[in-house]
Amino acid sequence: MTAAPATTASAATTPGGASPIVVRSWKAPIAFAIFTVIAILLFFIVGRPDLDGGNPTTIYRLSEARDAIQLPPLTLGLAETTIVVVILMVAATIGAFLLARAAVRVPLWLTTIFAVLFLVGFLTWAAAGATVPMIGLLAGALTVSTPLIFGSLGGVISERVGVVNIAIEGQLLGGAFMAAMLGTLTGSPYVGLLGAMVAGALVSFVLAAFAIKYFVDQVIVGVVLNVLVLGLTSFLYSTVMVPNAETFNSPEKFERIAIPLLSEIPVLGPILFRQTVIVYLMYLAIFLVWFGLFKTRWGLRLRSVGEHPTAADTVGINVRATRFWNVLLAGAIVGGGGAFFTLAAVGSFGKDMTNGAGFIALAAVIFGRWDPIRATLAALLFGFATNLQSTLSIVGSPVPSEFMLMLPYVVTIVAVAGFVGVSRPPAASGKPYMKA
């Protein structure tokens, strides 16, 4: 999570005079204090009365049977871990208050350390008396995050060029459907992936046509497209796929490819580098979108069209064409992410199987302040919180399951409200460009 411009304690000069204004932001220290209080309440007041006596321990399993380098499991005692964590959290909170009083911005590393501390304490408390499979926890988080990351990359491109993309959900679902269909018909997952990208681009094509050519409200077009794709895929699923599942809905999945050496790295290796082609493409896509947007002529033009189309037009950039092609590109990326559902994760199409992932991706775009790297981190955070709740509910955490299901959303809201602050969309995002 990053500190936002609004939380920056900076000295600015008023337009008229020379006297500097010192801005003190108390947001971060107050957030720290609240979490410290929550931690104290959970760890010491609530405790784990359900575990009888002694000092329960939490075992963190760091290796799986198939890993080359076996790490011994890490065992943390509940009492000592929570005491150490809370002391450090209190120290960090005091530090943050002192920094804020001195009008110094709370650095990102402090926020990160604080978040990790809270997480370690919370995990040790919630999973006391059980085993936490770290590899499974993190690998599952990546599985949930992958379609979100593709979705948010497409969202970032589309919004940066000035077209609000609410249709991410539809693009993912269309991609998942087409991947399953073509993957089964041709017997090649690569053709399926290509088909998914075409499907995503087609959804984008409708969005682009209505938004750019006919100046229809982009949000409404996006919403309608989601409904359209859901209806269409559900209909085709029921009428075509279900009666002939063998012919239309049993695609061959991508094999997991272990990258030599990298996949041997303890803990992270098996998570990041024992994956399918789609995930490796995702790593590439994150880099390319970031590099393209901020380091190339294409990205500069794209952003100028999204920020100030009139100015871009004046210097000879074709605003409408730029928007049209980039929205199509965004759709193709999201559609490719949809293929992850059917060609890497589940292995067959199911009605509404994206289950709202597109809307979470949309939130990640905003949370990530229209930046591909930050949006990726936001998607990973959501994926982690989702899988954390599932892991904890399996080992039998003391938190009720209804509340646990809220966790990913609570984390996202807290993160957006507490750490992101003001996020400014591209100035012309959502506004159709009409040449005067």
Binding site: L137, D217, G231, F235, T391
Partner: protein, 387 residues
């Protein structure tokens, strides 16, 4: 036996079902260009919502003018009639009943939860005599429609709705799930078995209650120490995916259980077992799957090799009985409660696992069944009908 859903779609000439645009989608717009797009979206909704609308008796059945004047109808939940689970089972029951009675029937699929109310009221307008609503999630829509239309009979599956004209079709599923838990504990070699659900609602948790108690009972009588993960019976909390879609959440939840070394998995909630099956195949370990609602071995051959058994809930029988009863004028509002005793519940055969389970298991299960029917073995759930 349920062999697929294509039975209901081979009547291209049949009249379209009662789906109205204004029922399914409502929005206003001042922009003319939008209306075209809105129409596309709306027609997609109609396609989805009414895909199964033109249901009628199969060709060759008695023409309607000779048949009794009875028009049974059905509304699915968002799972649709091809969910290989309880919607499909309900549909089979209605179809069989209508065929045997020689009457027309109408079955409407709900595209999402927003369509429940409109779908029920469109069937009311259609002049249905009996409307069967499939699932707990339609309780609210059923309550509203049954109160507003006291002269139409309703039946709701899996939930109790009060009213002179509403017959609840319920199942004390905890009994059958108990048998599944017992079988799982008997089969398990690692000493861990797991279950997880779609959404925490009574028709789901009742399975998990029975499963956990069945495992405990096995430990008690056999002296084993098998642990059931994913559901805490006393605390009534456990692992849920938050929906019934076979997506990545169901996949990672199943993987989480597999990481805890379980070798039997019972996912409860429509098609989420498909994700669980994928997680099992990815794990390269020998893990058995337990199906719910129908004998999944028959309804979905693609996972047949993983299936230890299935918890059977004979929804089709319940719907059939209620429909034929209502046609003969014998409709009342006493709940139909399926149990092991009346054949409303059961455990599917082990099929491919016949050779992998212990030789005595079948006999033991019969004993346990007898014990449950006689009341000697106590099986409880806060979600049981009448609780």
């Amino acid at each position: 036996m349920i062999t697929g859903a294509n039975v209901k779609r081979n009547h291209p000439s049949a009249p379209a079902g009662p789906c109205f645009l204004e029922d399914t989608v409502t929005f206003t717009s001042r922009k003319t260009a939008l209306s075209g797009l809105a129409l596309i979206g709306a027609s997609a909704l109609v396609l989805a919502g009414c895909a199964a609308a033109p249901e009628e008796e199969t060709p060759g059945a008695a023409p309607t003018d000779e048949a009794p004047d009875f028009y049974p109808c059905m509304v699915s939940d968002a799972g649709g009639f091809d969910d290989k689970s309880f919607n499909q089972a309900g549909f089979m029951g209605l179809e069989d009943a209508a065929n045997d009675l020689g009457v027309e029937f109408n079955a409407v699929e709900s595209a999402d939860e927003n369509a429940y109310g409109p779908n029920v009221s469109s069937l009311v307008d259609e002049g249905c005599d009996l409307i069967v609503t499939v699932g707990f999630l339609l309780a609210e829509a059923t309550t509203e429609a049954s109160t507003a239309n006291p002269d139409i009979n309703f039946a709701i599956i899996d939930e109790f709705v009060e009213g002179e004209n509403v017959k609840p079709i319920q199942f004390n599923t905890v009994e059958a799930a108990f048998l599944a838990g017992y079988a799982a504990a008997s089969y398990s070699k690692t000493g861990f078995v797991g279950t997880f659900g779609g959404i925490q609602i009574p028709p789901v948790t009742i399975f998990m209650d029975g499963f956990v108690q069945g495992v405990e009972y096995h430990n008690e009588v056999k002296g084993t120490n098998v642990q059931a993960l994913g559901w805490d019976f006393d605390g009534q909390t456990g692992a849920f995916t938050g929906g019934f879609a076979p997506g990545t959440e169901a996949l990672t939840t199943a993987q989480g259980l597999i990481d805890q070394n379980v070798d039997v998995l019972m996912p409860v909630g429509g098609p989420i077992y498909q994700s669980a099956a994928e997680a099992i195949r990815d794990s390269d370990r020998e893990i058995a799957l337990i199906g719910v609602d129908s004998d999944v071995y028959e309804t979905d051959p693609s996972v047949a090799d993983l299936l230890l058994t299935s918890v059977l809930k004979n929804i089709a029988v319940g719907v059939y009985d209620v429909t034929t009863g209502a046609a003969e004028g014998n409709f009342d509002n006493t709940p139909f409660v399926g149990t092991l005793e009346n054949g409303g519940l059961g455990l599917a055969p082990f099929h491919d696992f016949e050779s992998k389970v212990s030789a005595e298991l079948a006999a033991e299960l019969e004993e346990v069944t007898a014990g449950i029917v006689a009341g000697d073995i106590e099986v409880t759930s806060p979600a049981s009908p009448g609780q």
